[in-house]
Amino acid sequence: MAHWAFRRLAGMLSREGFHVLRFDWSGTGDSWGETNDGTIETWLDDVALAAQELRDASAASSISIVGMRLGAALAALACTQGVAAERLVLWEPVVSGSRYIAELEALHARDSLRLLHPVPAHCAELVGFPFSPALRASVGQIDLCAKPPRSAGRVLIVAGAERPDHRALYAALQSLGLIVSYECVPEDPSATNLGQRESALLTTRSLVAIADHLAEKGTS
């Protein structure tokens, strides 16, 4: 459903005059690679490559980046490694990798309840996808509060419900001197509600909030 949400957001931004590039991470969606090939390093390279591609294709002088969940964490980490973004939108960001893995494990356990034959314990899988020990280790090390995205001009955190980790990230980035805003856009249900996450991505309030934020200043 993230595909549909980003397609709608891209359409909204395009109608506002933005050049928009959507892409799938290596090893996901339509992008090349096997599902179990993904690594944090590869995906950070993907962000840099996408940013360069957008600059080349649009001749835009500056770009903004919108990422959701783990994608938001990757966008923020890319901005710690020199990818420059006029604005960085962190949509329901994964703040702590270890907490994210715990959430995925809870979701996996819930999904497994409907199976007659569960995933064997020795299989490195989470919520229907391969999840290698190496990927688990690198995702587990993510801590956005500890690594400020210094090459982002402004940061917006958007969430559908109040969460302590989003508030903590907001406070941490503020204390480090970044220009950061936090917008809680109540959705019913929230995108972080494990039981009904798909429905949330079909609603529009977060999309409107993100589009409005980016439209304040015209970047690609």
């Binding site: 356990a109 497994s112 309840l113 034959h117 995933v119 299989c123 229907g128 391969p130």
Partner: protein, 299 residues
Amino acid sequence: MIERAIAFGPDARLVGILAEPDPARAIASAPAVLMWNVGIQHRVGPYRVQVDIARDLARRGFVSFRFDLSGMGDSEVRQDNRTDGERALADARDAMVLLEKRRGVSTFLPLGFCSSVDAVHRLAMEDQRVVGACFIEGYAYHTTGFWLRYPLRLLNRERWRRYVEHQTQKMLSLRARDIAVDPLREERAVMGSVFARQYPTQRQFGADVRNLASRGTRMLFVYVGGDTEFNHRGQLAEMLESRSPLDGVELEYYASADHTFFRVADRLRLVARVGEWAAHTFRGSALAASVPSSYSIGT
């Protein structure tokens, strides 16, 4: 293998991904494989399985095209007053026109999964260019054999294990309300509200499949055994009311897989089975299996 994103159809409003084999491996007379949205998911399919199938088929020499039906994924809505079913057929025919022009193919093999079998079934019945069809978790009907085996559920140890787990979760949910108490009930409620499908009658289904078989259309039916309407290998023959096997009809039954092929190992088996079936049916002998060796295969 090369993959390209292509806009096609009226005013180029539809979007798909064309997977082409290396020229040296391409099977000249093979049908092109068509896949489209399963439920409301975009063209990649459940757990990206349609991407894996397309790439496996390309390695075996087949052209395939995964696309979004109008109004779904990246495709725009059609500006007409047709029904969803009619639009799906129109979209599939636009994809066939594209592949005829671009690749020179004249025959097709649509692959349906769950709800997407609706359009595969109709397309196969209405279009003579369809020489093969794959139905994954498609139409199923409760036969006498199904009901005779139904009580055996009570002897299934895995069902009792799951029942105990559900009851445990129910109790725990008093403390953790964000975890679904009864995922099956919840899933059925969502499915019921989102998907309203009209099955052909069993008699019509049987007649259609027999017609297709007599026309020479090759078919692969894949069913699973976990919580579905299909519970034994003989059920397809009962559904078809056919005492002897139909020429060109193959069945694969995965007793331990679930409807969405949640487990990676089940998907790997499915991808390999579809690829091997396509290869031996339309080439004569299967090319080397191309399942990624780095996947961890469970039991």
